[in-house]
Symmetry: C2
Subunit: 856 residues, 2 copies
């Protein structure tokens, strides 16, 4: 069994050396192979570390012998994956009274005292596990005195009832055992599992000759990287501590130097330009050789620059994009690798819209800019109300005094968060940043009354639940109404990466877009079309809502038609505008879906108003509402059921679509509209709707003298539609899976009502994930596969897609690729994420079959 091996002898394959000795050892080996100055180092293998943890005694004598007589070494952790963390580095192993005496001579007494004192304290705390409080008052600044050193050694011997170990081999043995064992501790295990580590995650260790950073000539330690963490553009960033060791330069309160000339203080560039030039040269060699921008931990020892450790440079999501693209453009990595370098979910941080600089919003509160981006929606005061809004596909802003863990699902469902209390590290701020939700915290001018559901500004203005506000998490402001926004300026690297994603991806990406605004955003993000245009939102504008209600209160078919005739031109211009924006790209329009009662008011007051407006007795308004009320609206009279029972609605919509088609095709690219029937559960539903829509198409063609084609399809969102997909397909050009509703029905679980127990369910592992966030591959996924297979048997050319919220989820995209779907459709702001995820899936080339994905 390989126990320890000189780092530079590690094999070329970094995956193998990482698995055997850990990622850090593997990277150091690479630097050595590139000829960079890394002090002599030996790797203790992962298997050796686990044996040491189990109690075996390693042969430290031989190991230490490699470093020569009286060597001082460090031990650094080298987990198989860097993200898994690992025990703290321990420096200066090998120091003892004898060596201390020699160093007094060589470095001066103060430096020697400081080194020894520091080593004894770190050993005491990290290896002997003494209470750090024991060394209170003996901090580093005082360690330079002989008294402090004696006190420190005294504390050790008092507490341990033995003198500080003088044998370097004993010291190293204890350090290795301590670090090997701490890897198995509960805290370490939980922390690394949070970063995706498996139960048997391995740790290697690195024993390295110390470059002391103290002594004669220029000496010190620092960290440096040559890209700007926020953007990824070339820049020098870091700190340097003369006469320092390890990461001293990063400790607050230390008088560390800047790296380049800086008006805030002295810099390495000022004091040692040669060292900086060396580091810059090393960095470029390492960047090309290691295929990534790195961050060095370096030490200057008597004028000689050593690289002790290297890690990927710190980078924001935006910087990650720039770094990957620059590497690829410099030929250091392939475009495919660049695609894989960026975590798709992180792109959302780049994509938040911002308040339009031209806008003159009415700001009613200012607070801390806790999570960037701007968002607009209806005020809700509880997490469950936010979830209910999301289920109704309504944007909401969650307003709370402060948030707590119970609010997390609500925060996920809200478009933005505003809290009265809390700072930049409050629960709301931390979670919102994690979720990528724009957030303003500590808006202390406002007063919330959660019982009455009101928000009162410091000027006494009152907002009620349902009122629309906008929060600006970039600038820390809350504004009344729907403030206009602009897309963020994304740099050229982002566009380049997106272009590359298009080169590789093999599945279409469309957007769910209900409005011209949505459609324009989608266009800018480079979609292949609109996969879901929900027409019902078009009826909620005030002028249309009135006509809509007239339609609902119509006594007979002719009155109903009259109301619909007034809606027709509005719908036609909606569609014509969408077609114009999309310039000939496909637009899939879902026919009217929600139950009619959603268009009637709820409060007594609003019903009275409606009665006045419609010149009806209020009792009639109430009784109409009652007659339309449903026990389970999700499973009620909506979608195609409404389309068949009140066919005039779909007739009107079909006419609006076709007239808009004629209009748009005359002005620009020819349009082939796609019409989608919602909530299908039987093939005959499609037949009946198709017959009427065909008739309307013929009418419009005869009236206008213009020929056009259209594509009819069904939204598969009931389990039965999935099972009978073969029957449906016969009359369909496409089937699009509405995974939101399909998930609700497959689980028998209302999304609106699941909030009350979903957290408990996920925590207890009843559901591995909330199936409304992550596609349930084993249940819903099987229905998707079964339906797609049957659909294709019936109609080999049928177009298959997903248009639920899952459409933007990388795991779902992987699934859709495996199932051979034609496209996924997601919200406009998720389009880049989806494009990147699709490209990654294609590049990884796993080409999993669907059997790999569903366990039956």
């Amino acid at each position: 069994m390989i126990e320890y091996v000189q780092i530079q002898r590690l094999g070329k394959d970094s995956d193998i050396s990482s698995a055997q000795f850990g990622a850090r050892a593997s990277r150091l080996a690479k630097l050595l192979k590139l000829g960079l100055p890394v002090p002599l180092a030996y790797g203790v293998s992962v298997s050796a570390v686990s044996e040491i943890a189990a109690g075996r005694l390693p042969d430290v004598a031989t190991l230490l012998g490699q470093f020569g007589d009286r060597a001082i070494v460090s031990v650094r952790s080298s987990p198989v994956k860097r993200a898994w963390g690992g025990p703290e580095t321990l420096l200066n192993i090998g120091l003892n009274d004898a060596l201390h005496a020699k160093l007094c001579h060589r470095l001066g007494e103060a430096a020697a005292n400081a080194l020894y004192c520091r080593f004894v304290q770190e050993y005491s705390i990290n290896v002997a596990r003494l209470d750090p409080e024991a060394f209170h008052g003996l901090d580093e600044d005082k360690c330079g005195t002989r008294d402090a050193l004696q006190a420190t050694l005294g504390i050790y011997s008092d507490e341990m009832e033995e003198a500080f170990p003088q044998n370097p081999e004993d010291q190293l043995l204890q350090v290795l055992r301590s670090m090997a064992r701490s890897w198995g501790g509960t805290t370490a295990r939980i922390l690394r599992q949070a970063h995706g580590a498996p139960a048997d995650a391995g740790l290697g260790l690195i024993v390295q000759r110390m470059a002391l950073g103290l002594g004669v000539g220029e000496s010190g330690a620092g960290v440096v990287q040559f890209v700007k963490p926020s953007t990824g553009e070339p820049a020098i960033r870091g700190r340097y501590m003369p006469k320092g060791q390890g990461r001293d330069a990063l400790q607050p309160g230390k008088s560390a130097l800047y790296i380049t000339g800086d008006k805030r203080g002295r810099s390495l560039e000022d004091t040692n330009p040669k060292a900086l030039a060396e580091l810059q040269k090393y960095s470029e060699i390492a960047r090309l050789g290691c295929h990534d921008a790195l961050r060095f931990e370096f030490t200057i020892e008597g004028g000689k620059t050593w690289l002790l450790d290297a890690a990927p440079a710190n980078r924001s999501p935006r910087a990650a994009v720039r770094i990957a693209v620059d590497l690829a453009e410099d030929g250091a990595i392939s475009r495919k690798s660049a695609i894989l370098r960026v975590e798709p979910a992180n792109l959302q941080h780049l994509l938040h819209p911002q308040i339009d600089p031209e806008a003159k919003p009415k700001i009613f509160a200012r607070g801390l800019a806790a999570s960037p981006g701007a968002a607009c929606g209806r005020i809700v005061f509880t997490a469950s109300a936010a979830q209910a809004c999301a289920a109704r596909e309504e944007a909401s802003i969650l307003v709370r005094v402060e948030t707590s863990p119970e609010d997390i699902r609500g925060m996920h469902s809200a478009k933005g968060v505003l809290t009265e209390r809390g700072g930049m590290t409050s629960h709301a701020a931390v979670i919102a940043r994690g979720l990528g939700v724009p957030c303003v915290v500590g808006a202390s001018g406002i007063t919330l009354n959660v019982k009455d559901k009101t928000l009162t500004t410091k000027d006494g203005e009152v907002f009620y639940e349902g009122d629309i506000i906008t929060v600006d998490g970039t600038n820390g402001a809350a504004m009344a109404g729907d403030v206009s926004m602009v897309l963020p300026q994304v740099d050229g690297a982002f566009s380049t990466l997106m272009d590359w994603a298009n080169e590789f991806r093999d599945i279409g990406i469309r957007a769910n877009a209900d409005s011209p605004t949505d459609a324009r955003i989608a266009q800018q993000f480079g979609v292949d079309g609109i996969g879901l245009c929900r027409t019902e939102h078009m009826f909620f504008d005030e002028d249309r809502l009135t006509v809509m209600r007239e339609m609902i209160f119509a006594d007979d078919v002719s009155d109903r038609r009259a109301a619909l005739d007034r809606l027709l031109p509005m719908q036609r211009s909606d569609f014509a505008e969408l077609f114009a924006i999309m310039q000939g790209l496909p637009v899939c329009i879902r026919l009217f879906d929600p139950p009619l009662h959603e268009f009637l008011p709820h409060s007594r007051e609003a019903m009275q108003e409606l009665a006045e407006a419609m010149d009806l007795p209020v009792s009639q308004v109430i009784s109409r509402r009652e007659s339309l009320a449903e026990f389970n609206p999700m499973l009620g009279m909506r979608g195609v059921r409404l389309g068949i029972t009140v066919p005039e609605i779909y007739d009107m919509q079909a006419r609006a679509i076709f007239e808009a088609t004629v209009e748009a095709s005359a002005k620009g690219e020819p349009v082939v509209p796609e019409i989608m029937i919602p909530l299908v559960s039987a093939a005959r539903e499609v037949e009946l709707v198709k017959a009427r829509i065909d008739a309307v198409a013929t009418e419009v063609q005869n009236e206008t003298g213009v020929q056009f084609t259209y594509r009819l399809g069904a939204m598969v969102e009931t389990p039965r539609a999935a099972l009978r997909a073969g029957d449906l397909a016969v009359n369909c050009a496409f089937l699009s899976f509405g995974t939101n509703d399909l998930t609700q029905m497959t689980y028998g679980l209302s999304r609106d009502d699941s909030g009350r127990f979903m957290s408990a369910y996920v925590n207890q592992g009843v559901f591995t994930e909330d199936p409304f966030h992550t596609l349930d591959i084993d249940g819903v996924g099987e229905l998707l596969l079964l339906a797609s297979e049957r659909g294709r048997v019936a109609m080999p050319d049928i177009v298959l897609s997903i248009c639920g919220e899952h459409g933007g989820d990388p795991a779902t995209i992987e699934f859709c690729r495996a199932a051979g779907f034609n496209y996924v459709s997601c919200s406009p702001f998720r389009v880049p994420i989806a494009r990147l995820a699709a490209a990654q899936s294609a590049v990884r080339g796993t080409n999993k079959t669907t059997e790999d994905l569903v366990v039956t």
Copy 2:
């Protein structure tokens, strides 16, 4: 091609002869073979009739030649299946002026005039298609005069512009053509399709020598059967018309005779006992020879008795049972045949409970006894409320001023119907009888206010929606409250048939029974156990409801446990009683299923009362209600979701079940309780519940020192549970399909809300049947098959069953047999229907595979 053949030469196989010449011809052939006196008859084949309809001229000369010179014949329809109807019989073909002259001589002028006159009129109306009004005033009584005959012939020649055809061959030709063509007419087609006839339903015709029924000596015609239509017991029933023809004896206003001595008038037994004795002898020969009790159409001609036609004797559903059993006991048919003779659905008419004669109910209204049986339930005033009750598995009585077609689904859902207006042939009465729902109509003392939802009695007492009443459709009374009932007295033949059903059936039949009453009924009907005991109904009793609400309002786990501890002994005694009644037969108990908000009051008034009772501010009651309210209760916090989030409820129920098991096993047969987990959608749900229930079982065993076993299973009622049945099965002894909820979720269709469009959907053929009445084999059925297959792969011995309302439906039972299910469970009153349907399916031995049933 066989064109016509002498009836007695038809082959022995009655199926073949029926297919070739029709069922009537086939039966006549049988009677002839039995040596019974049937006049000479020839059958015109089905294929010949369809050619005649298409325009081919049949060779009537040869046919008529068979009957000898100057024969008088009749033509009778002989459809392939009797139920398909057919054109009216035409008598006396061959009569003309010459023959009339001869008959004047032989029978007397009046009789000859009457015969000829009748023939001309019938020919004119049925063959020449003259308006019957043309013969107004020339009715049969006047036909005996020469003037009337001349007038009749005159009308014919006036209308037809030609003399009445004198050539018998022409007459017969026209009769055959007319009857052949009328079979293809729209009315005839629709009528027979309503009786299940296929599009190409065939008709044969019978040409038979007339037995005149007039003339010298005893002459006349009648109908007779030798079983009582209401009960099937031996009895003589019929009418006889001296000097009559055909079915004259059945015409109202005619002075027909009774058959046996009758105080209401003269009888054949008085006037011609020999003829009666002959008929009785013929009947017994025919009964044994034709394997059924028959009804004869007979004619006495000059003292000689002829059988012109025979058909199955009229019989009620109860009589059908008796007749079939008697035939089998007499060896005329096998027991298997007897099983097939009774339509399972018809048994419901025998099985309605009746008001206990010992009961002293408070009758608040009397009306007409429109549909027999008694039923009890909550008052509802609309069909949709009745459907909603049914969906909640609550019994309801639909109370209407009168019903209309829109109410049919509500009537189907209600347990009983009460109307203020209407007679025995009103819509409510007719439909209720058809549906087998107890019904009282014309309860004119009551006043309904549908808006306020009140029923006011003539004494001024007011009933509200939700109040419990009982209707007695056997005696025409409506009573307050839940009046005790007894099972109907079913005769020995019924028990015998049920015993035979058990001999043949190969699938278990259990009952859905929530209460001791249900369990006793189920026991009496001979179940194999209880397949579904819904425990939540046990909590609605007033004393328990209070404790239940305390549990809901509990602030913490210990308060909740305290309330549950008070429910424990009540539940224990519920279960102990069920176990005792079922005497060791399996009892499958479903753990608590409904959402908690069902236990809280709705009206402000009731909430105030509850607040007082619980010593809480009313605001707290309201806010608790609001916090428990759900958008889609069907898909919400219920079933196992409640069981996992509030585990104390299932803990209590499990303890109650196990303690009752110990108690019942000590007193009688050892009990192995079955515990069923509702609304499962993930395997982990079963694991978690199982772990707690196992723990409770161990506790109870330790406490009591008594060992017992139990069987845990899952109710499969979400599509996901069906898809993941393999995972569930690992921890389950059984899987039971709750097809009500599974249908709702598979279609995405709330049963409560489907009423608004279900009729339109079924009428337009969107759904071929209401899937809540008839199992949707193509969708829900596929999930059942898929789940059962996966369940069996995981656990080969797993017990599979259906416990939704479909469990009592013959088509569903056929499906379950094909799928190899172990049992079906249905409501107690459907148990005999299910037993018979199961036996029929087994006897038919079709053994369809499931591929035959589901079209994928």
